[in-house]
Symmetry: C2
Subunit: 343 residues, 2 copies
């Protein structure tokens, strides 16, 4: 089995358990329309990357064979903890941010289904996101960890949510700015995307009481999270519209800042004139191909690929504090997978 | 000094301290536009009723003279706590819900200033509300209470936020429904409005480790919070537009369910035909006067007044577990004030 196959198998094996736990952690209760809206995107699928990272980090720390321990009664010093409750919390945060981001970005589709504000309405999209927000905290309170560890996990969760909002605000600000430096871009991505990977990877160390591993695992999450976003930006240019689930090159049309366009602008490319179309509906694949060719010529695509690769290698080095076991190998594999995936 | 004057004096004395603490608990940092939007309504004023209830409940429990103890180093068994951090947390929750509710209700003015989605835009209103949401948890983590008490306070905060969302969803659902029973209305108000008063009143008991007082103080908050909302509904009909800061009778024009209209419909009043105008801009004071007269005739205004009064008396009875001291008298006074206020 190749490393990528091993990762996909590890994701699939945990996905079913995570989905069961989401059902339990987010029961459909009154008012039902609110909870249906809250579950709309969670039910539509998703790879469950972040909760899988969390579960694997727990297995690596506990040095147990993959899937051998009950995630709900996971071995910890001083009594077992419900690691899955923390995993559900992290996935709920991700889902809440998607719902609100889709409103802000006016995106109509997500995971192959209409965005919540399309399937329901603006009110229900705001409110279901807000409901998920507190549900994330409620689930993180259910790990059964000692009060000290719970407080620390909740503190990390709260600051993570604040940072995600800050990142989104910076990203919105970028839309009305011309030049953005690579460092500014990477700071935005760190806040908007990577801190949630940091929380996913380090929360097991917190709730299991493994203080020594909190910072390295957080660093792993931060590095792979940044690389994940850069890969997302690359895929927008290189993956077919059908596979992507949205128009290829839509970021270029919408004038979104990415590490690729930031580098291109720095290297004399007229980024705003790369695509003649103003709307995603009006762009052709030939126009995107021509734009991508210019970005290739400027070395911008290569630059983004190399930056992502360096971040992945840095992320993997953070795992060296872990015992050399199969879950650690899978965390390394997930790091590679994030920049090798094609959708 | 009358009871009402004593309450207003107690509110004023604490308001300045609460405002200072909000400045410290919500510093203006990068990205500045996000934090400016988040502070927009907090800076616009507000009575600070909920944090004042929290501080007074702490003083009543500790049996100290009003304002004699430092709220940041408040005497508690096993070490002092920062009661003000909890008060700031509760006010931040209130502010976050106002920002998002104004979007959902399409209200353009709040506290005499444009709503955040008007002063900024929809994106910034969603995002600044989301930022306040996590800031509320961050502040509640800063009380310095023991980990066990902090966990309990955070748990109450999370479930309170969930319930507020549920209440808002039920309220939205009411708009498309005809008959709503008084019990259904009161359940909605309990969730949407009263649980935050419950959290405000009981959080001091949690962080001070006074388990015996948690439920009674929560009950006090729940009762006065429901009465507060009923009084808000009454004021919409009886207070002059200038004092109210929005068109008198706007709830009637917008077809909002209130305890008054719920009672009127049950008693044969054609509530939907009470006001001929469809829009708030198109209604006259004479039309509102005529509608109010019909509601008076049906006994609906009297019914709402009596229900609010009964809730206030029930709320005050919950305070009997407290020592008979000045802060307790002020909590009783605040209960009365909530239904005696004219704006």
């Amino acid at each position: 089995m190749s490393s990528q196959e091993a990762v996909e198998s590890a994701l699939a094996a945990r996905r079913a358990r995570i989905n069961d736990a989401i059902e339990r952690g987010l029961p459909l209760k009154r008012p039902e329309r609110l909870y249906e809206a809250a579950k709309h995107l969670l039910d539509a699928g998703g790879k469950r990357l972040r909760p899988t990272v969390l579960l694997l980090a727990g297995e690596a720390l506990a040095d147990v064979p993959p899937l051998s321990a009950d995630y709900h009664e996971f071995p910890a010093e001083g009594g077992s903890v419900d690691l899955m409750a923390a995993a559900v919390s992290i996935e709920i945060v991700q889902s809440f941010t998607l719902i609100h981001d889709d409103i802000m970005d006016d995106d109509t589709m997500r995971r192959g289904v209409p965005a919540v504000h399309e399937a329901y309405d603006l009110e229900m999209a705001i409110l279901s996101g807000d409901t998920l927000y507190s549900k994330a905290f409620e689930n993180m309170l259910e790990t059964g960890a000692t009060a000290e560890r719970s407080v620390r996990a909740l503190s990390e969760l709260a600051s993570t949510c604040t940072q995600i909002c800050e990142g989104q605000a910076i990203d919105i600000d970028f839309e009305s700015r011309g030049a953005v430096s690579p460092d500014e871009y990477l700071e935005m991505v760190e806040l908007k995307t990577a801190v949630l990977y940091g929380a996913a990877a380090s929360t097991p160390a917190i709730v299991l009481g493994r203080d020594d591993a909190v910072d390295p695992l957080y660093g792993y999450g931060l590095d792979i999270g940044r690389a994940f976003q850069i890969q997302d930006d690359l895929l927008d240019l290189t993956t077919a519209t059908e596979t992507l689930g949205k128009q290829r090159g839509s970021d270029l049309v919408e004038g979104k800042q990415t590490l690729i366009t930031v580098h291109a602008r720095d290297n004399g490319v007229d980024v705003d004139g790369l695509v003649p179309a103003d709307t995603v509906a009006g762009v052709t694949d030939d126009q995107i191909d021509a734009a991508v060719a210019k970005l290739e010529d400027a070395g911008s695509i290569q630059y983004a690929r190399e930056t992502a690769r360096e971040l992945i290698e840095s992320g993997k080095r953070n795992l060296e504090i872990l015992p050399e076991n199969e879950p650690r190998a899978l965390l390394e594999g997930i790091a590679d997978y994030l920049i090798e995936r094609e959708y």
